[in-house]
Amino acid sequence: MSSRSSLLTHSQQTASMPADVISVRKVQEGFQFVNSLASEGESDVEMSDDEKVEKSAEANDGAIVTPGELVTDDPIWMRGHGTYFLENKTYASVAGTVSRVNRLLSVVPLRGRYAPETGDHIIGRIAEVGNRRWKVDIGAKQHAVLMLGSVNLPGGVLRRKSESDELQMRNFLKEGDLLNAEVQSLFQDGSASLHTRSLKYGKLRNGVFLQVPSPLIVRSKNHTHNLPGNVTVILGVNGFIWLRKTSELDTANNSSAVVGKNAATLSGASGEFKPGNNSVSITRLEEESSWEIYSDKNDHISDVMRKTITRYSNVIKALAHCEIGITEARVVAAYEASMAYSQIGSLIDKENMEAIGQDVINAERMRGNA
């Protein structure tokens, strides 16, 4: 406890400095990559040849490998993604962690474009309106497809899509619009087909968009979180994040989720899943799918709310800068740590971002879950 309080006073000291007009980091004579600045003084890992031969035969499950590194020389393994095969040996073709599932050997890249998987809750931006479908930019290798038949149209879900719907597709979603959706299925080439057939999916309003590297988003059961300060965050698995004012629908969804959880713990281990408990039932969906779900008008958002949203957006960027996986708990912890900085604008400085990341990690360590 004592070390935590000292941490807080430390960050308060930094915060009490007046915010500069501009912060400039200077490096003279000599060229370095921006990201290698922090690791100054660290030398390369020594790699003697005989040592390598001794150890090289196997890279175990979870080991970190670099491109061209030998993963195994055992030909029994099936070669999955991120590997290549030369003279009966399997090498990594990307930098990442080795994953072994049964006989399948693959390397999961640390960085790279988002690879969609069925069931992912993602956020996308309409790139193109086409024949009975929208092309959606989801930060993957290819654009995803959203079929006209996979969205809720005004007047209920259960009606057929008519020709007039086809002609007014731009009235529902047009180029640039943001939506959240679920990956319904994958095509042969790895591109995704999306659907928005639930009230928690659909067009996004009342907030701001920001993007972080997709590997930082931790997959979880729920990706929509109501945060303190009446702000709701949608952490898209593809690294697209939407911060908005909490709507009535958000509170309704969340409270029902909490009731469901409590009920399960009270009634014991039976844990029956009731459809419609977590999401809006189909009948209500019909009532609520009016034209309003495709509205382009924001509700009134107060200045205080805008400030809170900005603060959340800056702390999420700080977490991403520190390469910390982004979860609801960490966003809240970082938000609380950022309260030491009264100026929201001071959160864009590198030192302050790193201080917040350190605070979050330290707090987790102290609770013993890091």
């Binding site: 501009i22 912060s23 640039g176 943001l178 701001v208 924001n298």
Partner: protein
């Protein structure tokens, strides 16, 4: 980047409110943090790389050549290359012509004078590797740091060569630092009645207009003009906004110079 209608209206309302609420929480007169690298190109007399926090990156190299200044009129040549834009596009040519006009008219020619007959001619090459917002401010910071880190060969022959026809000779390895006051160019965005320095890309997308203010020798100088930052929200500039932007630059420019200085 294309923004959705709701994003744009949210941003525009935030930026037009008093005081402006910028999407990254900056104050109206706050710049984004930058990183400056200097003197890393061995083949040029001065070089710099400036990286902004949004990933915009700009490289500048300065090279020199000895010319007869009676024959060559221009002693500063600026070349601009912006990745992702054609060299003959209006965007790139506009930036290039603004830069070369400002630098060739406002750099003190006497600093480049070698002898009565010869001068250094500077070739300033600007390469924008990636740009997410209007790159002019960043380019100007990079040019400033490059010129301030420029080392020119040291003259050892006489500097009076009108009577004797001799070519200037230089010291084998000694250099002299180029000492010249470099103009800075600032872009500002106007949103409603607010004036914002260093607009990020999403701010530029909803700005009513952009203003370019040049700062040299401790005062705002020509050119001061408007910049089109987007196509949707553009409206006229009120004289009040123009005054506000000049006033704002008068306040922040000394601090920016101080932060950039000492390179």
């Amino acid at each position: 980047m294309v923004l959705s209608v709701t994003e744009k209206s949210y941003l525009h309302e935030s930026l037009a409110s008093v005081p402006p609420a910028r999407p990254d929480g900056r104050k109206a007169d706050q710049f984004r943090p930058i990183e400056v690298f200097t003197d890393f190109l061995p083949a040029s007399n001065g070089s710099s790389k400036v990286v902004a926090s949004d990933g915009t990156e700009c490289l500048v190299s300065v090279k020199c050549k000895v010319v007869d200044h009676a024959v060559e009129e221009d002693l500063v040549v600026v070349d601009v290359d912006i990745a992702g834009h054609r060299d003959d596009s209006g965007f790139v040519q506009g930036i290039a012509s603004t830069l070369s006009k400002v630098l060739s008219t406002q750099l003190d020619r006497s600093c480049l004078r070698l002898t009565k007959k010869y001068s250094f001619k500077l070739y300033i090459d600007v390469l924008v590797l990636s740009s997410f917002s209007h790159p002019l401010t960043l380019i100007s910071f990079a040019v400033y740091s490059a010129l301030n880190s420029t080392q020119l060969p040291k003259l050892i022959s006489s500097d009076d060569d009108l009577d004797v026809a001799e070519l200037p000779t230089f010291h084998d390895y000694d250099f002299v630092k180029l000492n010249v006051s470099v103009p800075l160019l600032f872009t500002l965005a106007i949103c409603g009645k607010n004036v914002l320095v260093d607009p990020a890309s999403n701010e530029s997308d909803v700005a009513n207009n952009g203003i370019l203010v040049t700062w040299n020798n401790g005062k705002a100088t020509a050119p001061i003009r408007t910049l089109g930052l987007n196509e949707d929200y553009v409206s006229g500039v009120s004289p009040q906004s123009l005054q506000d932007s000049i006033k704002m630059i008068e306040q922040v420019a000394p601090e920016v110079l101080q932060a950039l200085g000492g390179i």
